[in-house]
């Protein structure tokens, strides 16, 4: 258990707190670009954890996955999103239906809820409680973002945050799935983001606004 391993274990424990921070910040964010930046920070923290975990288990596969996550979630997807935001030249505000203070309160509430929700399952799922709570918090915040934010792009970001949450849950409980599955999941996510970007452009062309709550033509 060299110096490096202990550092990794400590990093693992504290990263839960960092994740909560990003959750609160994303809830408070006003502009889409800050949300994208916060998303890449979250992915960075998750990559750090993957490296820490794989160090502890000496699994070379872990490093491959970490590299993959780093390249896709930390670099590729935010880059694509930024290009879309520039391309759109649409207003960059988040246009949320709840004011930022309310959002922060809700996010905090969600974090507390995730702690209570996770307590009965700690024994069952394994992995330490803080990380599991963080994962559930990410999922709930992702959901909250998608439901409260009106901008199409914000729904994409919300979806990504939710996916991050699930990915984290997978990570903490199972110390890594078979490699092919991990690659498949991340590749799917990337393709998903491309498609959503394409659809965002289509919405702008046909509706020349990006407000998702106005898309109400198909009813009944």
């Amino acid at each position: 258990m060299g110096l490096f391993e202990t550092a990794a274990a400590k990093a693992l424990a504290s990263s839960g707190v960092f994740l909560f921070m990003t959750v609160l910040l994303i809830a408070a964010a006003k502009r889409i670009s800050t949300c994208i930046a916060l998303f890449s920070v979250q992915s960075l923290i998750i990559t750090a954890q993957i490296i820490a975990v794989s160090r502890m288990h000496h699994s070379t596969e872990g490093f491959v996955i970490a590299g993959l996550v780093l390249s896709v979630k930390v670099i590729a997807i935010p880059y694509v999103l930024y290009r879309i935001v520039e391309e759109l030249k649409a207003p960059r505000d988040v246009s949320s239906s709840t004011s930022s203070s309310q959002s922060v309160f809700i996010a905090a509430g969600l974090i507390l809820l995730s702690f209570f929700a996770v307590r009965p399952y700690v024994g069952v799922l394994g992995g330490d409680q803080a990380m599991l709570a963080a994962a559930v918090a990410l999922v709930l915040t992702g959901g909250f973002l998608m439901v409260s934010r009106k901008k199409a792009l914000m729904q994409v970001v919300g979806l990504l945050v939710l996916d991050n949450g699930i990915f984290l849950a997978a990570l903490t409980t199972t110390f890594g799935m078979p490699l092919v599955i991990e690659i498949g999941i991340v590749f799917d996510l990337l393709m998903g983001v491309f498609l959503m970007g394409l659809f965002v452009f289509r919405i702008r062309d046909t509706f020349d606004h990006l407000d998702v709550s106005k898309l109400r033509r198909l009813r009944g």
Binding site: Y121, V124, L125, G126, V139, G143, M146, A152, Q155, L159, L162, D163, I166, A169, A170, T173, T174, M177, P178, V180, I181, G184, I185, F187, D188, M191, G192, L195, M196, L198, F199, R202, I203, T206, F207, V212, L215, R217, L218, G220
Partner: protein, 485 residues
């Protein structure tokens, strides 16, 4: 080796279609690829039937259940390709809306669905189910109208969220397997999971949690009621051949995944929990969909709700369990896909000739469009479960299962819903068929290919309704054997 053909043929088809420019060539290439694909699937099914489980490498495997679902996939995709060759003469402009893109995406869509059926690993299966959503999102938004874009967007977002939960469910299964002592590398392989399932009884709480997430996740793709909202929009706005593919094959794909997970959970912790869950979802979907069908104004939305209703019936079939329930459910997926394809093709014809799908403005189909009118009658009778057609047989089997296992509430609910649906459909179709309409073109456009396709559907329905051929019965028995070892 035999499995590789059906898998990679659509992929090759897609590439070929993307390469050639001239639309007529595209159609011809598509048709040849389609027939080749059908042949490949036929050979695959035959070989599965004769040699049992086929395993290719670590990630591809096909057993009785796969062959059963492959048949409906092959048949419907061939019919859709033949139908769309005559259907898509006028193609709206727009970046992704050319004929080349249409057939390319269709073949990608087929590739992902075949991959779902052939994947041995539950993780792989999740990846390809997610891929089906991505492939079909563009197809839903093909027409580039306001409605199509909105439907495409909703379809993409809601299904991806749903599927994300399914991912967590799969992971929980993986965790339960690893805890239950299965080697991490092959913890998600279906074969090993089924074999080790009785040993997993220790993780009862975890398996129940996993099944809840899987049910909500894949339930979104199947269209169970609380998560069904994307389905009417997607199926109504997509071009008719695509909505036929979505309704008839994609829903079966998601149901196939649910079947796999249900088989594992019921072997591990007994079918109590998973079957109650499926019964709840099935009953609620059946009730809500049948009520909503009464007040529908658009023909394809009506058909979309009828898909939700029939998926509810299939879920009830699975939820009832036992040989009768499962047999009914499997048979119902097959019958439903054929009847729904026939109806969506008719809806395509109606849209071609009447220019609209709003049922108030469609009058006098029986006179002006005798063939489409006839198909509507046959489809309508079939989808409401009238005797000469296959759906009656499967609904009867499911109802017998319900009554024999004393699930009286579900049986009564199902009977009530079916009668409400009968009333609703009869009301709508009768309104469209009768009366006299003025805005129908003098010479209705009628494609020979449409006639052939609809004829095949009607023929299959009647054959399955009257007497199930021996070969089909053998495949069905093979599928049942897989689910109830």
């Amino acid at each position: 080796m035999v499995l590789l053909f059906p898998l990679f043929l659509p992929l090759a088809g897609a590439l070929l279609v993307f390469l050639c420019r001239n639309p007529r060539v595209v159609v011809r290439v598509a048709l040849t690829a389609g027939t080749l694909e059908l042949a490949a699937i036929g050979i695959a099914v035959y070989s599965i039937h004769s040699w049992g489980v086929l395993q290719v490498g670590r990630y591809l495997c096909a057993d009785g259940l796969t062959s059963f679902f492959l048949i409906s996939l092959g048949l419907i995709s061939a019919l859709v390709l033949v139908y769309s060759s005559g259907y898509l003469r006028h193609v709206p402009e727009g970046r992704f809306s050319s004929l080349r893109w249409f057939y390319g995406l269709v073949f990608l869509f087929l590739f992902t669905m075949v991959a779902v059926y052939l994947s041995a690993n539950l993780g792989m299966m999740w990846i390809f189910v997610e891929a089906t959503t991505l492939a079909s999102a563009l197809l839903v938004g093909f027409y580039n109208t306001e409605g199509a874009v909105e439907a495409g967007w909703k379809y993409l977002i809601v299904c991806t969220v749903g599927i994300a939960f399914a991912l967590f469910g799969t992971i929980a299964f993986y965790l339960a397997a690893v805890k239950g002592g299965v080697s991490p590398q092959s913890a998600l392989d279906w074969g090993t999971l089924m074999a080790a399932a009785p040993g997993l009884v220790g993780g009862r709480e975890l398996l129940k949690l996993a099944f809840v997430f899987v049910a909500v996740g894949y339930g979104t793709k199947v269209g169970f009621v609380p998560m069904h909202s994307w389905l009417p929009d997607a199926h109504a706005e997509a071009p008719s051949p695509i909505s036929a593919l979505l309704s008839a094959v994609l829903l079966n794909c998601a149901m196939y995944a649910l079947l796999r997970f249900d088989a594992i959970t019921s072997r591990a912790i007994g079918s109590g929990f998973s079957h109650t869950l499926l019964l709840i979802f099935g009953g609620v979907s059946l009730a809500v969909a049948s009520l909503l069908m009464i007040v529908q104004r658009d023909l394809k939305r009506l058909l979309a709700y009828s898909s939700i209703e029939h998926m509810g019936i299939v879920a009830i079939g699975i939820g009832l369990g036992g040989t009768l329930g499962l047999l009914g459910a499997l048979l119902h997926t097959f019958n439903h896909s054929i009847a729904k394809t026939l109806l969506f093709f008719t809806a395509g014809n109606v849209r071609e000739n009447f220019g609209t799908l709003r049922m108030e403005r469609i009058r006098g189909m029986a006179l002006s469009l005798p063939w489409a009118g006839g198909a509507l009658i046959v489809g309508g009778l079939a989808i409401t479960g009238m005797p000469p057609f296959g759906l009656f047989v499967s609904e009867l089997v499911i109802l017998t299962a319900a009554f024999s296992t004393a699930h009286y509430f579900i049986a009564v609910l199902m009977l009530a819903a079916i009668s409400v649906v009968f009333g609703a459909l009869l009301h709508h179709f009768q309104h469209m068929l009768m009366g006299k309409s003025d805005d129908v073109p003098a010479q209705p456009a009628l494609q020979a290919s449409w006639l052939v396709v609809m004829g095949v559907c009607a023929l299959c329905l009647v054959v399955l309704g009257v007497h199930i051929p021996a070969a089909f019965k053998a495949v069905l028995r093979g599928a049942m054997a897989v689910l109830q070892p």
